[in-house]
Symmetry: C2
Subunit: 232 residues, 2 copies
DNA sequence: GATTGTCTCGTACGCTGTACGAGACAATCT
DNA sequence: AGATTGTCTCGTACAGCGTACGAGACAATC
């Protein structure tokens, strides 16, 4: 069980001193950079999914050689880490939220979180395999601060945060699973045809058929917040 | 966006008639079978993780040629589907649960679910990318039946089920992320060293440091069930 | 004896991530 | 001025991947 990424580092990050360098005029392609690589990676992921992202394709789209990427980036894992975190940046709440409305603020943070992930369906598949990035951490920080300010007891705080986080992540993953299986409608239809035999209760409640995901997310969140408010 | 798996099928599943075949005495290696492939795949996944599972390695471990696998199995995706679902089989509640204790039963189902996934950490990484298998569906069916029997209104039923499911899946994924980043303790320590600067509230609450995951899961579940009970 | 169905597997192909090292170019030093 | 150093690009090469293809082995059936 060795840590794969512990040793590797891009040459760039190994440099000891940073000397000034003349800026190149943007003739033809702009110069390669960590930022340009990440945004292009996100484009590619949006267009082709996780399996569609290849170092070669990424380089092609950037108009550079494959190995040039490795100057700016440790390896493919690094690209994926950066892409995932870049998509999770939070722009802050709108002004419509009054300061004492802690519930509204929490709901907004979480719905925005979920929306960010749904805009980039590949993000769900990436989540379980990487560590928490800075943007994720600052969202957690914000959540923590809001709840704490709302009077949630310290003893309940961490549990509350993780529960809310679980709600977002679980909802995202469920959604990803369903989008996936809707690709091949034929197989899905066939499976649902036999649902009533094997799974009568599920069938009756139309659990897998109704797809008001937004509403379910919001109402489930209310359950959670109600339970939380009881203990405030 | 074409469905990758719609066309592929193992040769075996295409056969039209099943004729009786003399059973081979288990001399040397037992004959290849779908079941043997799946259990060996799970062993390999447990030992080496998702990236460790290769068709070649799987065949080696089974003492067969690589391409022999493809008689029993469509492709690697198929193996992963089967491995994931096989790990999620549910053996039913113990006798200690009385019939009218719906909360206890729900808690047991969910804790067992989570435990199954934690026993096989690779399962979390696989989840977002495959459809719901039969074992998952029957767990959902059981959950649905329990809640419905406990008097949860039909209008709330689906929301409740998804919220509980979200809790399990989210918790599993969080845990997977953390186990991952604990592989390279060095990087984690370095990151945590700067936590108090960037994320003071998180630091104070020790959100990332305390790791009573079992307790947090259970207490979060209580929040959810409390909120649910309010509406019963 | 010929045919068919079941099952195994060697070879080969196109694709992947990336190690290595040769350069191009600018800034700096002597 | 020439030499050196640091920054950045990239062609080649390699091991490993999933799997298409088709040649067989063996038993059951006609």
């Amino acid at each position: 069980m060795t840590a794969k990424r512990s040793g590797a580092q891009s040459k760039r990050s190994q440099r000891k001193s940073v000397s000034s360098q003349a800026e190149q005029a943007p003739r033809g392609e702009p110069p390669l950079s960590r930022e340009r690589i990440v945004t292009t990676a996100v484009e590619l992921l949006d267009a082709q999914g996780v399996d569609g992202l290849t170092m070669r394709r990424l380089a092609d789209r950037l108009g550079s050689g494959v190995m040039s990427l490795y100057w700016h980036v440790d390896n493919k894992e690094d690209v994926l880490d950066l892409a995932l975190d870049s998509v999770l940046a939070y722009r802050g709440p709108p002004q419509t939220v009054e300061p004492e409305d802690w519930r509204g603020e929490v709901v907004h943070v979480l719905e925005d979180w979920r929306a960010s992930m749904l805009r980039h369906p590949w993000a769900a598949a990436l989540l379980p395999r990487r560590a928490l990035g800075p943007n994720t951490l600052s969202r957690l920080e914000l959540l923590s601060k809001t709840l704490s300010g709302a009077g949630v007891a310290d003893a309940d705080l961490n549990v509350a945060i993780w529960s809310l986080w679980n709600h977002v992540m679980g909802a995202t993953i469920t959604r990803a699973s369903f989008d996936l299986s809707e690709d091949d409608r034929a197989a899905a239809q066939q499976r649902l045809a036999h649902l009533d035999e094997c799974y009568p209760t599920i069938e009756r409640s139309r659990l897998l058929l109704d797809d008001d995901w937004d509403g379910a997310f919001r109402e489930g969140l209310d359950f959670l917040l109600d339970g939380l408010a009881l203990r405030r």
